[in-house]
């Protein structure tokens, strides 16, 4: 008997039911044998089995063997979310010669096992859901997948090291890449760092060549100072709207000679310089930093005299012999068509002022780690000299770990990079100033190639390590040695008593947090976020760069804190995943389109205006509605609205849904 045949639509259902333990993920939260036995008694069920991992090869083979041996023509698998493994099992059906759509999946992991603590309640829910699927699958029909072309162009959002790496990888593979960056220059946080751990090579030396490569790559369209405003469509065919903010300097004309900056009516830099965390100053017309890419100046309308008063003599424009300055530049809207989106939107550093105990913003001697990165950097505001705000060189420095990390009141997670960068900063500070350096840590976390060795090096260098969380930074001196110093109070938990350590400079090793607008961005692209706000990967181990939305990938710290090596690796992985989709050249769509049953359609036209894709039209000859299958995206809105029940949706027919409703409600 050839099972891959429409005859099975009408043949009596022979159902195979499989429930997956998913190790203990499912089996630990509900009574798997009870669900199996419950389903086994349902009419039409020929085989009911439980198995440790249904998605494993043996699991799939078990399914195939049963299809052949027991002449099964319908399969139900109760395991994880269909968004994760539906295709796996459909392929297993196909391999066994059964149409893949004679299949229904029950989500008893994400929707049951992982979210309920009440075992009997979870078991009952699982029974209900399985009973629904078994009833539903009887009404499944023979279907074939639709293939549509996959647009080869890619949009990468965010041009930090992750976005740069991903864009270059894909561009090198010959794909056209749009790279959109919110800031005026690409480079992200990495461009702000001085050295990178554990090798201590200079961040700029390894990043700058990549930045120039992006700028000059023929396959990359770089839009800085731009943001994605809207996305529509789905994998293979996204329409994206990008907003380009005016920089008041024509990008194609500017050569980055800095003449405009030198001739600005402000003779001295006066405004806090973003790139240097406000430790340095800039003018209203400025170059974000010396290696900024594109190497194009921009005007900050907030501070520019022309925009504020309209009474500037515009000496910058005069000074520019390429006439690149354009005060009338307007925001520009670009619409592009791409098949794939890759998000590398990065992170934000924890706002140290939110921790009231460490006196950031109160005591001038308290700095964040990123500020120290700039101070220690040769092109930073002090030309690489580590000095306090009053110009003194610190004789003692305390570095406090886990600021805005591992703390229920701020952020619960470990930010992964702080231990290592604190070690790096300890080394650099000691090297630059010869100061006594104290690291206050809770646990020292150095997992990574050559990381522990770096810790060893620091131990040998004579940096102090105190295992204890600092409770406060205060200027309350209790003894002469403490006068005029900042005092760090912490329990030396290894010694078992509290210590007071007076220092000149305090460095707060601030953690990594999701971007403030991560929720808005997640909604813009319709991807998920984990509870703490980083973007949610499809699977923490098996699909770490995928999202739950096909065709959208994530890389770098927008997914969670990670260091540069991991970020670059992840960016490469995301690019490879994207390339795999693009090179397939088509995407298979669910055959969930709607169709009109011509015989019974009365031609009332109720459905026609409801379709946003104009897939439904009215045949003036037959006086009936018709649905163009290639235009139909399968939402089913017309089906629900058809007043005479004459439109059906594949995979979501009325009978199928009615039987599901009945199934979830018929448990004793």
């Amino acid at each position: 008997m050839n099972l891959n045949d429409k005859i099975s639509d009408k043949a009596p259902a022979r159902i195979g039911f499989y429930i997956c333990h998913c190790g203990t993920n499912i089996a630990g939260a509900l009574d798997v044998p009870a669900v199996r036995d419950y389903v086994a008694k349902m009419p039409g069920v020929i085989v009911a089995r439980d198995y440790k991992y249904m998605c494993s090869d043996p699991g799939q083979e078990l399914l195939g063997k049963d299809i052949t041996e027991h002449k099964l023509n319908r399969i139900v698998v109760a395991s994880c979310s269909p968004l994760l493994h539906e295709n796996t099992f459909r392929k297993a059906l196909e391999k066994a010669g059964l149409n893949p759509f004679y299949f229904q999946m029950v989500n008893i992991r994400e929707h049951v096992a992982w979210v309920h603590t009440d075992k009997p309640g979870a078991t009952r829910k699982a029974k209900d859901l399985c009973s629904a699927a078994v009833r539903r699958v009887k009404f499944h029909k023979f279907l074939e997948k639709k293939k549509v072309p996959y647009h080869p162009d890619v949009l990468v959002v965010g041009a930090g090291i992750a976005g740069i790496q991903a864009a270059l990888t894909m561009a090198n593979a010959g794909k056209k890449v749009y790279l959109v960056e919110r800031e005026p220059s690409i480079g992200g946080h990495m461009a702000m760092f001085d050295k990178t751990f554990p090798t201590l090579d200079c961040a700029a030396c390894i990043l700058t060549p990549k930045m120039s490569a992006v700028k000059s790559h023929p396959n990359i369209t770089l839009w800085t100072y731009s943001e994605v405003a809207k996305t529509e469509g789905s994998a293979g065919n996204f329409k994206v709207t990008v907003k380009r903010k005016p920089r008041y300097v024509k990008e194609e004309l500017c050569v980055g000679c800095n003449d405009c900056i030198d001739n600005c009516v402000f003779k001295e830099p006066k405004f806090a310089d973003e790139f240097n965390m406000g430790l340095g100053k800039r003018k209203p017309v400025y170059m974000p930093f010396p290696q900024a890419t594109p190497h194009v100046a921009l005007i900050d309308a907030e501070t520019c005299l022309h925009f504020k008063t309209g009474k500037c003599k515009q000496s910058c424009a005069e000074a520019c012999d390429r006439k690149a300055i354009d005060f009338n530049q307007k925001e520009e809207i670009k619409e592009i068509q791409v098949g794939t989106l890759l998000l590398a939107t990065g992170f934000e550093v924890f706002d140290a002022a939110k921790d009231p105990y460490y006196g950031y913003g109160v005591h001038p001697g308290v700095y964040t780690s990123l500020e120290i990165e700039r101070l220690v950097n040769a092109s930073g505001p002090t030309n690489g000299e580590i000095v306090l705000r009053d110009g003194r060189k610190p004789k003692s420095v305390g570095i406090i770990h886990c600021v805005g990390s591992r703390d229920a009141k701020t952020n619960k997670w470990c930010s992964r990079v702080c231990c290592m960068y604190s070690l790096k900063l300890a080394h650099l500070i000691k090297e630059h100033t010869g100061a006594e350096v104290y690291n206050f840590y809770i646990d020292m976390r150095t997992p990574g190639k050559m990381y522990e060795e770096f810790y060893d090096r620091l131990l040998e260098e004579g940096v102090h390590f105190v295992r204890g969380r600092v409770s406060e930074v205060s200027d309350f001196a209790m003894s002469p040695e403490e006068e005029g110093k900042l005092i760090l109070r912490a329990e030396d938990t290894l010694a078992g008593f509290v210590r007071r350590v007076p220092v000149d400079m305090v460095v707060l090793s601030t953690g990594l947090t999701p971007k403030k607008d991560s929720q808005t961005v997640a909604r813009l692209f319709n991807i998920g976020r984990s509870p703490e706000g980083f973007f949610q990967e499809r699977h923490p181990k098996l699909a770490p760069v995928n999202t739950f939305t096909d065709g959208i990938f994530i890389a770098g710290c927008c997914q969670g804190p990670k260091d540069i090596p991991d970020t670059v690796a992840q960016a490469g992985a995301a690019a490879a995943e994207a390339l795999a989709l693009i090179d397939k050249a088509y995407i298979e769509l669910e055959p969930d389109t709607a169709f009109v049953v011509e015989d019974t359609c009365s031609g009332c036209k109720s459905c026609v205006p409801l379709c946003p894709y104009t897939a439904v039209s009215f045949d003036e000859v037959k006086k009936k509605a018709v649905i163009n299958e290639t235009l139909c995206k399968g939402c089913g809105t017309c089906v629900a609205a058809c007043p005479s029940g004459s439109i059906k949706q594949n995979l979501f027919e009325d009978e199928q849904i009615f039987s599901e409703i009945e199934g979830v409600l018929t448990n004793d």
Binding site: R406, I442, R469, V470, S471, E491, D492, T493, G496, V498
Partner: protein, 190 residues
């Protein structure tokens, strides 16, 4: 200093005590502790303690009952809640300290050095009979019961208070004393 063996064997642990600590109001999160020492550091009195608060938490969750109930720490706690405010795992350390005090009083294991327990009991007695506290009476009772030499040493303060009109000559009381007794007895199931 005596040389003695410091190793602690498993038989010293009292798992029931650890369970009890988790069951008291405020003790539910004790297992979350990562031993960072923020509590000890935040505590103004930790300098005087034999075990820092962090160590008490660890000993309590491991079930080292004798060490915990015999420690100075719980009697030095001034209930200022600094530890709780700073704990990165939001453990209600002050409430745990209260619970440990209650347990120690119940079991009579508090060190004789600290009159805190005596005072607490006197306090309770006074409230049971009058519903309110009159501080100087309380202090007098305390010193008479513990160390009346010290009481004499305090007489300067007493005189000062007397002169400033801050001493009460008659103990204050609620009107409805029986209601207080009914409520407190009801708690005891009487």
């Amino acid at each position: 200093m005596r040389i003695e063996e410091k190793v602690k064997r498993e038989s010293r642990r009292d798992p029931e005590f650890a369970r009890w600590v988790r069951s008291v109001a405020g003790g539910e999160d004790i297992r979350r502790c990562i031993q960072c020492g923020a509590c000890s550091s935040a505590c103004q009195l930790s300098s005087y303690m034999d075990y820092t608060p962090r160590r008490i938490i660890n000993l309590a969750r491991e079930g080292f009952k004798k060490e915990v109930l015999g420690s100075f720490t719980i009697w030095l706690c001034a209930s200022c809640y600094a530890c709780r405010a700073q704990c990165p795992k939001e453990i209600k350390i002050t409430d745990i300290m209260y619970a440990l005090k209650r347990r120690a009083i119940r079991e009579g294991t508090y060190p004789a050095r600290f009159p805190t327990a005596v005072m607490a009991k006197e306090f309770a007695n006074m409230i049971f009979s009058r519903g309110r506290v009159t501080e100087n009476y309380l202090v007098t009772m305390l010193f008479l019961k513990t160390n009346w030499f010290k009481f004499l040493g305090m007489s300067r303060l007493g005189l000062g208070l007397l002169r400033a009109g801050r001493m009460s000559f008659f103990p204050d009381s609620v009107k409805n004393r029986s209601e207080i007794k009914t409520i407190l007895n009801a708690v005891d199931g009487k």
